[in-house]
């Protein structure tokens, strides 16, 4: 059930005319969307364009979002369709393409073979990942467990409290302290 309440609350605000609230959804889902689209669209700047288009389409279609599924499930569908459209247009443009969309869909994300030059505004994932993992390894055991159970196993605070045998309040503060520590390490990377 996680994500639904906050997302729906935000969507409600956007539907009430608060465009700034939409920013929160973009900030939250941008990486997942770009990552998803990159599986279809190999060229990075094209993938960014398609991702941007996805978020714009989603904004325009938001009045139709009924909350029957999670917001991300809905956004995912828009992203996949937008990516497929992009590929169709591409294949028309370049005589014949041997892309099989259904096949591309299952190809793992980081298979892109062409390495492009990195402009100033791009941060390489591996650099970030390394920083985060290194930081996690150095966290005290209780903080590490709490953040992992939350982010990787997707457990609720209550479930983590059972697993770690501590009060829910402690879980909350451990997760926050873990995030805060990692955040202090990645902040400089993102501000570069």
């Amino acid at each position: 059930m996680a994500e639904n309440i906050t997302d729906n609350e935000i969507i409600d605000r956007v539907k009430n005319g608060d465009k700034n609230a939409y920013d929160l959804l973009v900030l939250k889902y941008q990486q997942r969307v770009v990552n998803l689209i990159s599986r279809f669209v190999k060229n990075h700047s094209d993938a960014l364009d398609v991702s941007q288009e996805t978020f714009i389409k989603a904004y325009r279609a938001l009045p139709n979002f009924r909350g029957d599924s999670a917001f991300y499930t809905w956004l995912y569908r828009i992203a996949v369709n937008t990516a497929k459209n992009h590929l169709t247009v591409q294949s028309r443009r370049f005589t014949k393409s041997d892309y099989d969309v259904s096949e591309i869909e299952q190809i793992d994300g980081n298979m892109s073979l062409t390495e492009q030059t990195t402009p100033e505004n791009l941060l390489i994932r591996d650099e970030l990942q390394e920083t985060v993992l290194k930081c996690i390894e150095n966290l005290p055991e209780d903080l590490k467990s709490a953040i992992m159970l939350r982010e990787i196993d997707g457990l609720s605070y209550e479930e983590i409290a059972v697993v770690m045998n501590c009060p829910v309040g402690t879980v909350r503060s451990r997760i926050f302290r873990a995030r805060e520590t990692i955040d202090s390490k990645i902040k400089p990377l993102l501000e570069n």
Partner: protein
Amino acid sequence: MKKQKQEILSTLIDDELTNNKEILDNLISNEEMKDTWARFHLIGDCLRGNLPKKIDRNFSSNLKKIIANEPSLFFPNKNYKLVKEPIIGFAIAASVAIFAVLGIQRADISPIETTASTVHMKKEIVDSKLDTFSFPDNYVAPANVEEINEYDFLSNQRLNNYLINHSQYRNDLKMNTVLPYARIVNIETED
């Protein structure tokens, strides 16, 4: 004060707040908080292997400029459902169906007890999220992610024995004959 707000933000991210209103008001109007919101989500995506190969620092600000030119929406009716209730109903039906089928199915194996105690059924049901399972990429858990206590584990003969036994029985079920033994080959033994 800032820390306190950030902790509330962290709780909001995990959908564990009962009252979101105040923090959301705050978040929408405060750029610094928004940045924190983005980075906290980025940490989660990073741990789950959801990051694209390259991260564009300006993606959201570029998009914001475009959205600024879009008309504001005005659809104030809350036409989404609060999904919890209907899903519980659906899941109860699904669970009943599972039990019904199982009753016939298990003729070949006579169970010692009927499992899945009804006491915990409610919890089970709430967690039945059929549509959120995904296979995003080929990210393999780095060491420590799964809370490995390698030293303890490898030096623990008893646990190794348990693992060998467990793997053998798993093998008996014939669903996957290679993997269980692969684990055994890797197990450390003690003199």
